[in-house]
Amino acid sequence: MTAAVTAGPTQHGGRRHRPLPAWLLGLIGPAGLVAVVELVPRAGLVDERYLPPCSAMIAALVEQAGTAEFWTALLETLRGWAIGLAIALAAGVVLGIVIGSVPLLRAATNSTIEFLRPIPSVALIPLAVLLFGTDMRSTLLLVVYAAFWQVLVQVLYGVRDVDPVADQTARMYRFRPLTRVVRLIWPTALPYVMTGFRLGASVALILEVTGELIIGSPGLGRQIAVAQTSGAVAPMYALVIVVGLIGVAVNVFARAAERRVLRWHPSVRTEVA
């Protein structure tokens, strides 16, 4: 009978199969993918012009890494991402705490936030182009706009989560507003801020690369667009892989930062995406 296979290790105590270590299994997957991407174009199953073999991609990647152009673009992407994220974080945290702590503000801004939040940041692309052309600032506009909402929403959840009993205690002891923020609101909201940071970081990267791709701001996205128009397929794939790796790095970094900051924080809460 098909049992729930995801149950614990003692489930099939009768049959003794030594489980392969997770990291080994984790390597087989990507290895398999590499093999597929290598063999399928070579076997002619897919046109090589559309999907060059993995080795060609790697070769193009190595070649790219030898050019100063590549590294400049990489740094520009990271710079735009970091600056945009920082601005969004600062604005989101400050506004979130202020709005979240004052019930009247919260009620008044609620509809506006719910209204503006779903507006896709890409709607601002034409405006950004008009204002800043292909300067990095046009992409920055997109990045800040998109990441800001992620952070703001999470901070608002965080402030809402403050224990009312603790809050009343603070008021009873007549804490100054700033003290309340530092001692009570900030620690409570911190896990949410970290979630906002993580979601914002990933969204910021998406918008940064999007801006470079569509608007032409300096960065890896623009390199990809250039490669595409000049028909350089393998370098294009190589750049996409690099962007993917940056994405993975951003995720890992954000999660690591989250764990580190919250190491001494007994937070038990579920993420509200």
Partner: protein, 276 residues
């Protein structure tokens, strides 16, 4: 639902459920934990047997092995002559965590009906079974509610209703009233006894509450600390008609209770029968 006179069923010696030489060792990451060393006992058809023991006696492990949820390292569990390797038909389990065993997206009625649909019973039969079992636990009026709208005691009653609607041959209960307040517990204990007597099911009841085990059972099996073995089987020769007030004030009740209590205390201190 079939009703059998309880007396008649109990005198037959054919065991409904047999546990023979059950042994369970947990292996993982270089550690070997022998949870259960050797458990052997039987439950006759129509009996209500309680299993009691100190915490860490592997009561839940035992129940999961009997239910077929867990493989045993050695030994076997036999239900009506057939070996149990996976959850067998004709067995229903009531877990301690009632809140987590009911499907929150289904109503009370749908929760009770679900296993019956699996059994492919015709619609009318299902309806009458669900109605009767909800009636028996006193929750027919709440059939449209969702589990989370009910109190803890009510949720556990729904779980019990679900179990008896299933018309099982054996009912396993894993510390079902541990997470319930004392007053509700008393009501639920009486409910279980009532259902047991009316329906003639065989019940294996695991608990850590000594009073409860003596009050409910006809036999109480006391377990040692892990690696678990059977310390003693205590026969409860109280009258079959029991109620919370009179039965618990009987001198015989107090004797049995202190006997079991003493056994459990010894078990906690590591006492084991002749080097087992």
């Amino acid at each position: 639902m079939t009703t059998q006179p309880v007396g008649a069923a109990a005198t037959t010696s054919t065991a409904m459920l047999e546990v023979r030489g059950l042994k369970k060792i947990y292996e993982g990451r270089g550690r070997r934990v022998e949870a259960i060393r050797d458990l052997t006992f039987g439950v006759a058809a129509g009996e209500l047997v309680c299993i009691v023991g100190p915490s860490g006696a592997g009561k839940t492990t035992l129940l999961r092995c009997v239910a077929g949820l867990l493989d045993c390292t050695e030994g076997e569990v036999v239900l009506e002559g057939r070996r149990v390797t996976e959850p067998p038909p004709g067995m229903a389990v009531v877990f301690q965590e009632y809140g987590r065993s009911l499907f929150p997206w289904l109503t009370v009625w749908q929760n009770v009906e679900l296993p019956l649909k699996e059994k492919r019973l015709p619609k009318d039969r299902r309806r009458s079974l669900v109605e009767e079992s909800l009636e028996a636990v006193g929750l027919l009026d709440a059939h449209r509610a969702h589990p989370w709208q009910l109190s803890g005691g009510m949720q556990q009653r729904v779980a019990i209703a679900r179990a008896i609607a299933y018309e099982p041959r054996v009912l396993l209960m894993d510390e079902p009233f541990a997470a319930v307040d004392a007053q509700t517990r008393a009501d639920l204990e009486d409910l279980v006894r009532k259902l047991w007597r009316e329906l003639g099911i065989t019940v294996l009841f695991v608990t850590h509450d000594i009073d409860e085990s003596v009050y409910l059972g006809r036999r109480v099996i006391v377990l040692s600390h892990s690696p678990t073995v059977v310390l003693e089987e205590v026969t409860v020769d109280l009258p079959d008609e029991r109620d919370q007030l009179t039965t618990r004030s009987l001198p015989r009740f107090a004797e049995l209770r202190s006997h079991v209590y003493e056994l459990v205390q010894r078990a906690k201190r590591g006492y084991r029968p002749e080097g087992r």
